[in-house]
């Protein structure tokens, strides 16, 4: 998985349009990873990560508007911190809940975040939202480019590379966490919390930690998205976003690093996918069906995935790998992966 992160960094030579898509995808991948972690590894279903994204996004925008020329790393870390903090607040009641109660409570939270933002228009810019400067590539980077499109290309490339690097770092940390004692404790809590308690694991603390990390990642992703798009407003963080996150996570594969990457990629190229479907089925994109196709398409995809391949595309990949494995003579088999 670490190799995957490294390989991604190698894909630098793309057009500017692709770059900005990848950038967005990388940011979303971070959020998905956080969610995947929470749901897949600690067994807590949360629909509220869009709310934490909002926290990260707004914090970044507000800070940028008051303090120009902040180093990017600072903004991102600040967003992560605020995400983590809000995660902590929500985690206090949330971690005492199970299954559907937790899902519903986090849903209510994500529902309430939008109106909450609207309530403080002086800080949050009301329904219009806030704006900040686009991410501009530093001069040393600009000098690498030449030609008429240099500025645009450079900026797009910079956004993409930056996002990918940030994502790679985030994924790296997550991979380490997975193998650490904390990670193992979390998986134990997920599978059998009575046994975990008997083994001396503090249930509350472990669950809360999982929640906080997930929220921090969401905040990071949200902040990155805000930096990339240059704006933030309350409509961005809706119920639809929570659904989208869930969909992408499931499609990619719950609880795997690779799955989050796949999810991010799907997000980046979702419009392309939809046009492809349009072409294949001959649906007119301007008709009312066409306009809503994206929602229908992803909803149906989510349902089909859950019914047929609950481990997502990543899971399918693993299954194929397992099958190929079994076809080899026993001496050459690799140990099977979960």
């Amino acid at each position: 998985m670490l190799l995957t992160a490294g390989a991604l960094s190698a894909t630098f030579g793309l057009s500017s349009l692709n770059d900005s898509k990848l950038a967005g995808g990388a940011a979303i991948a971070i959020v998905i990873l956080g969610l995947s972690w929470l749901i897949g590894w600690s067994g807590q279903v949360s629909l509220g990560n869009s709310g934490f994204m909002a926290v990260g996004g707004y914090v970044t925008a507000i800070w940028a508007n008051h303090h120009t020329a902040t180093p990017i790393i600072f903004s991102l870390c600040l967003a992560m911190l605020c995400g983590a903090l809000s995660g902590l607040i929500i985690a206090l009641p949330a971690t005492r809940l199970r299954g559907p109660y937790l899902a519903g409570m986090t849903l209510a939270f994500s529902f309430a975040v939008g109106p909450l933002a609207l309530y403080f228009p002086s800080i949050t810019g009301g329904s219009g939202g806030l704006f900040l400067n686009f991410l501009n590539a530093p001069n040393w980077f600009l000098n690498l480019f030449s030609g008429p499109q240099a500025l645009v290309q450079a900026n797009a490339q910079w956004s993409a590379d930056l996002s990918i690097v940030v994502a790679a770092v985030a994924f790296f940390f997550m991979a380490n966490l997975f193998h650490s004692r904390t990670g193992r404790a979390m998986r134990l809590v997920r599978d059998n919390d009575v046994a975990a308690e008997l083994a001396g694991v503090n249930l509350q603390r472990t669950r809360t930690l999982a929640f906080v990390i997930s929220a921090a990642y969401a905040g990071l992703g949200g902040s990155l998205l805000t930096l990339l798009s240059g704006s933030v407003n309350s409509q961005m963080y809706s119920l639809q976003l929570s659904i989208l996150l869930l969909t992408l996570m499931v499609l990619g594969g719950v609880g795997t690093l690779g799955g989050a990457v796949i999810g991010g990629l799907i997000y980046s190229y979702s419009d392309n996918l939809v046009s492809l479907v349009n072409k294949l089925t001959g649906i007119n994109p301007t008709s009312s069906l066409g306009a809503n196709l994206k929602g229908v398409f992803f909803g149906v995809l989510l349902i089909l995935t859950m019914l047929l391949a609950p481990k997502g595309l990543g899971g399918l990949g693993a299954r194929i790998a397992n099958m190929a494995n079994r076809l080899r003579p026993a001496s050459m088999r690799a140990p099977t992966r979960e």
Partner: protein, 297 residues
């Protein structure tokens, strides 16, 4: 008398009860589905709206209003039954998160598919009773003929459901199928069929709620989103296993939101619900009305 009824508190309470009664209705539907199939139906509101779309659009073609309501309920009923058979049945015995995700996906599908089928018609749904608020001594009471109708209808439906479960054989079988499915099977009870009935009942009533909510407005698939969240909160507060809890929770949330509406602003009404939820779950995590359930070790 008039000034008592129009005092701020009374207005809030009345208004709260009016909306609370509809929330309670939807919460009851959620509890029925939860008790029988252990699924939290995230698409409850959207499925209801689907039914409302099917039925209420006929009003514009001159069909009798009451007939349209019936058609809406039938459409909801059929959708509910189909959903249980096609989407939920295959998932019995699998991890609990699967049906949640499927219903969330279904929610997305309905909310996107509906406008494409009905092509974004923006017309207001007529109401059989006036929605103009009563006046007394120059004060406005948050009660109109339509609101009264809303309350009476919701209470009647809830009462009918209660009677169904308590006193009919079908209700007995449905309760048994929910409480002890295996034992019921051994007694020859066709559990699968009853679970489908549960979903049908729930979606049919959901459609009725959607019609009530949409009256006086235009039909939009997201009309029920807010109610769903409130209804979920109500059911969670009362305890997902308890129909009485759902109804009480619904009224409670309705009143809480009403107060929030008045003292804060429109925007924070859902937040009031969240606060009630957090407080109540901190106090009784399994819901106020749930009897203590022992954990299996």
């Amino acid at each position: 008398m008039g000034s008592f009824f129009s005092s701020r508190i009374m207005t809030d309470i009345l208004g709260g009860l009016a909306s609370g009664v509809v929330i309670a209705l939807v919460a009851l539907c959620l509890v029925i589905i939860w008790k029988s199939t252990h699924v939290l139906n995230f698409a409850q509101g959207a499925m209801g709206m689907f039914g409302a779309f099917v039925g209420m659009n006929l009003v514009f073609h001159g069909v009798n209003y009451w007939l349209c309501i019936l058609v809406s309920m039938m459409a909801g009923l059929l959708l509910g039954g189909a959903t249980e058979r096609v989407l939920i049945r295959p998932l019995y015995g699998k991890p609990e998160i699967n049906p949640i995700v499927v219903m969330v996906g279904f929610l997305g599908v309905i909310e996107s598919a509906v406008p494409s089928i009905w092509k974004n018609e923006i017309s207001t749904i007529p109401t059989p009773f006036s929605q103009v608020y009563y006046q007394s001594h120059g004060h406005t009471i948050l009660m109109s003929p339509f609101v009264a109708f809303q309350i009476v209808l919701s209470l009647t439906v809830m009462g009918a459901i209660a009677l169904l479960f308590r006193f009919t054989d079908l209700g007995l079988k449905m309760r048994a199928a929910a409480l002890a499915p295996e034992v019921s099977r051994l007694l020859g009870v066709r559990v699968g069929r009853l679970l489908t009935w549960g979903w049908m009942l729930s979606s049919g009533v959901g459609a009725l709620a959607a019609v009530i909510v949409s009256s006086g407005q235009s039909l939009a698939p997201s009309n029920m989103d807010g109610i769903f969240v409130s209804a979920f909160i109500a059911a969670a507060v009362g305890g997902l296993e308890s129909p009485v809890g759902a109804v009480t929770g619904g009224l409670l949330i309705g009143v809480a939101e009403s107060f929030a509406l008045n003292f804060w602003s429109t925007n924070l009404a859902p937040l009031a619900g969240v606060i009630v939820l957090v407080v109540s779950l901190a106090w009784r995590p399994q819901g106020i009305f749930t009897r203590h359930v022992a954990r299996r070790v």
